[in-house]
């Protein structure tokens, strides 16, 4: 075991696949000598050289679009957009091209690309640099979407993402980048669609992923002191989704709370909630509770931002409302 930050976990995932497969290439804004805006690719340019770690112009359309073309012709590109918010400029390449090519071309073309998207608020980055947009991508057939919550998973999920023959959206939590986690000495690929039970509990299931796993665990700890035992499910991959893990937990606890950092309206949390209500109806002893951000752009001022984003206390209150 050793301590490693979340950002280092991602980097080690990248590094090990780059050592293994010469067709793995990185591209994005400032991913080269600068090491990435959040330092994730630090040292990789020095190790693998200009050809494999390419700085691009500030030009998200071509970052995503060229990755599609490269992936369709034999490479395994890993592209970084500086913020998930910039996906708007890269959306066509991801949604109309990468996601649909295999299907609409009758399987004639594969697009094994990984798109890294730093997401979430909490650093006063303002409305255009703090988005949580997983609902946009989980909505698209043809994409796989993962969202690690710790360094070990970040590493293991990256290995799987790069090996996958389909386009994978790899969402990263900005506030976790410098947070340290215990990581095994060797990290194996973590299969997609396998959730991780971070805490067992008998009274309510908290379904979440990414940064909110931490919040959920804090909430569970506080609730335990009041006699409520919460189970915390870290989905890790949003698509494919480990429905069985969710259903098994709900069948055990009969109550579910879904917490995500997205704006609540139209979020992926809504999808999870609807799915539980639809498929676990008879197991529920209370309505599924959704916790998310307020329906606002993310404000800049720290007080406002903290007010808008969901936190541990929201989870605690949400759970108490079910009893």
């Amino acid at each position: 075991m050793r301590k490693m930050t979340y950002g280092e976990g991602i980097r080690e995932g990248l590094r090990s696949k780059m050592l293994e497969d010469p067709n793995v290439v990185l591209l994005g804004e400032d991913v080269g000598p600068y090491g990435g805006t959040f330092g994730v690719t630090k040292g990789l340019w020095e190790q693998f050289g200009e050809e494999r770690v390419r700085d691009t112009p500030i030009s998200e359309g071509i970052i995503v679009g060229a990755s599609v073309g490269a992936a369709a012709t034999g490479l395994r590109p890993v592209a970084e957009l500086m913020f998930i918010d910039f996906l708007t400029f890269g959306m066509d390449g991801l949604v109309n091209q990468a996601a649909k090519m295999r299907y609409m071309f009758g399987g004639k073309i594969s697009v094994p690309l990984v798109l890294r998207l730093p997401a979430g608020g909490g650093i006063s980055a303002g409305a255009q640099h703090s988005g949580s947009l997983e609902a946009w991508v989980t909505h698209v057939p043809g994409l796989k979407v993962v969202y690690p919550s710790n360094a070990q998973d970040a590493w293991g999920l990256m290995l799987t993402a790069i090996e996958d023959d389909n386009p994978v959206v790899y969402i990263e939590s900005k506030v976790l980048y410098s947070k340290k986690f215990q990581v095994d000495d060797t990290v194996a690929a973590i299969p997609f669609g396998v959730a991780s039970v971070k805490r067992e509990g008998s009274d309510v299931s908290i379904i979440t992923y990414g940064k909110q796993v931490e919040d959920a665990l804090s909430a569970a700890k506080a609730l335990a002191e009041e006699g409520i035992e919460a189970e915390v499910i870290d989905l890790r991959s949003l698509y494919p989704l480990d429905k069985e893990a969710i259903f098994a937990s709900v069948a055990k606890t009969h109550r579910a709370l879904v917490v995500t950092e997205e704006v609540k309206r139209g979020g992926f949390g809504g999808e999870l909630s609807a799915m539980i209500s639809e498929l676990c109806f008879d197991e529920l002893d209370a309505p599924v509770v959704r916790i998310g951000a307020l329906n606002t752009p993310v404000p800049y001022s720290p007080a406002l931002e903290a007010y808008v984003l969901p936190n541990t206390e929201d989870i605690i209150q949400g759970i108490k409302s079910m009893f």
Binding site: S202, G227, D282, L284, D285, A286
Partner: protein, 442 residues
């Protein structure tokens, strides 16, 4: 908009009801679902809920007997003019209350009047509904303690365990503590605590329970008014004793063969001794119509059918639902009827129809180890059969002492109609069937 409250029809055959008690006074604010008054019919007592909220402006009938659908009160806004309603007499309520087209609808009406507002849908969680179905609990009778009064799975289980005796008040308790309480058989609603009841609280209560019992032994006298069911029982038992010159006859039956029959049937149909006795008694009564009659003045009312009442003991009293046309029914059907009626009695969902029309009654105290008693006739019937415990007893057969399962039966019969010899022959008939059930095939 003020509305007249009328005497509800609580069963197919109900034509009038007696208001025994108003729970609300004139001027009280009433919420939808609040209990307004108690109503008694000759067989059943019920609580009537407000179907709309407002102020109880006028109680038209304080106490006494009212025909169904006749106005008993007015609910409306505090300052509303209700003179039109008071002057108007009978309103066309039949349309509103509806004429139940079948017994099912009637049962629903009766049930709704007890806990949930008739118009309001029952709020129960899906898991609670599933649990209720599994436990055969009628959600109409369960009081919800979840958010917004929703019935939770815990409410259903609590109801199932406690037989629906009173709705639990909302108790703030942690789920872990609730589980612990259920496991230890402790009712947490009796605990008074600031904040949430925790597992530790339950454990300390359990530890202190023996001491609590000692403390409870302090002498104390409390006057508890009879509930309406108790009142009905008291009145009817007294009447019976007053009118019937009753004699109780006892006879021991060997249940070896009956027990064997029950075993043989076990895989096909699980039947109780009560089921078997209902069947046997129904058959015997056809041969002894005097025990199946009733007395009106100087006439004996003889019948060519048999409806057997089966007494069901409840915490608040006793009801006698009736297996109709028992003489025509096979064992399976009888068993099903008895089960349904007993469950209905416990969940207070019996209709007047379930409780009327009996021609003979069976009452079983065998499960309490009773060996003999003298039951009181359920008027206007003329006889009642008491069933006692089956006791392994040494008997002399052909000069040898053998252990046999014997059951005493205690028949009380009205001597006005039934002489001792007839009663004895009737009991012999029953004995013959019990000891040699093959005769039932003849």
């Amino acid at each position: 908009m003020a509305e007249l409250i009328v005497m509800p029809k609580l069963g197919l055959t109900m034509t009038e009801g007696t208001i025994s008690n108003w729970r609300k006074a004139e001027g009280d604010t009433v919420a939808q679902g609040d209990i307004l008054f108690d109503v008694e019919t000759d067989k059943i007592s019920n609580e009537v809920e407000a179907k709309l909220g407002g102020v109880l402006r006028k109680i038209i009938v304080e106490e006494g007997t009212v025909d169904i659908f006749q106005p008993v009160a007015v609910i409306g806004d505090a300052n509303e003019d209700i003179s039109a309603l008071l002057g108007g007499g009978v309103m066309p309520v039949a349309e509103q209350v509806g004429t139940p087209a079948d017994a099912g609808a009637a049962a629903a009406t009766a049930g709704e009047a007890s806990v949930h507002a008739a118009s309001g849908r029952i709020k129960a969680s899906p898991y609670a509904k599933k649990t209720a179905a599994g436990l055969s609990v009628d959600l109409q009778q369960v009081k919800g303690t979840g958010p917004q009064g929703r019935i939770t799975e815990g409410d259903v289980r609590k109801y199932a365990i406690e037989g629906g005796s009173g709705a639990a008040p909302k108790v703030k308790i942690s789920p872990a503590a609730a589980k612990e309480a259920a496991a230890l058989g402790i009712d947490p609603s009796g605990l008074h605590k600031e904040g949430r009841i925790m597992k530790e609280d339950i454990r300390s209560i359990a530890a202190a329970s023996s001491q609590t019992a000692v403390q409870a032994a302090v002498q104390e006298v409390k006057r508890v008014p009879m509930n309406s069911m108790r009142k009905i029982i008291a009145k009817r038992m007294l009447e019976s004793q007053a009118v019937s010159p009753a004699v109780t006859y006892n006879m021991k039956l060997d249940t070896t063969a009956l027990g064997a029959l029950r075993q043989q049937l076990k895989d096909t149909l699980k039947v109780t001794y009560t089921d078997l006795l209902v069947s046997i008694v129904a058959r015997s009564l056809l041969e002894f119509p005097l025990l199946n009659c009733s007395i009106e003045g100087t006439e004996l009312v003889m019948r060519n059918y048999v409806n057997i009442g089966v007494a069901v003991g409840l915490e608040e009293g006793l009801v006698v639902p009736v297996v109709k046309n028992a003489y025509q029914k096979g064992l399976a059907e009888i068993s099903q009827d008895v089960k349904r009626l007993a469950a209905g009695a416990r969940s207070n969902t019996l209709t007047s129809d379930d409780l009327t029309g009996g021609t003979f009654t069976i009452t079983n105290l065998g499960m309490y180890g009773m060996e003999s008693f003298s039951p009181i006739i359920n008027q206007p019937e003329v006889a009642i059969l008491g069933v006692n415990a089956i006791v392994d007893t040494p008997v002399a057969i052909n000069g040898e002492i053998i252990i046999r399962p014997l059951m005493n039966i205690s028949l009380t019969a009205d001597h006005r109609a039934v002489d001792g010899a007839v009663a004895a022959q009737f009991m012999q008939k029953i004995k013959a069937y019990v000891e040699n059930p093959a005769l039932l095939l003849l």
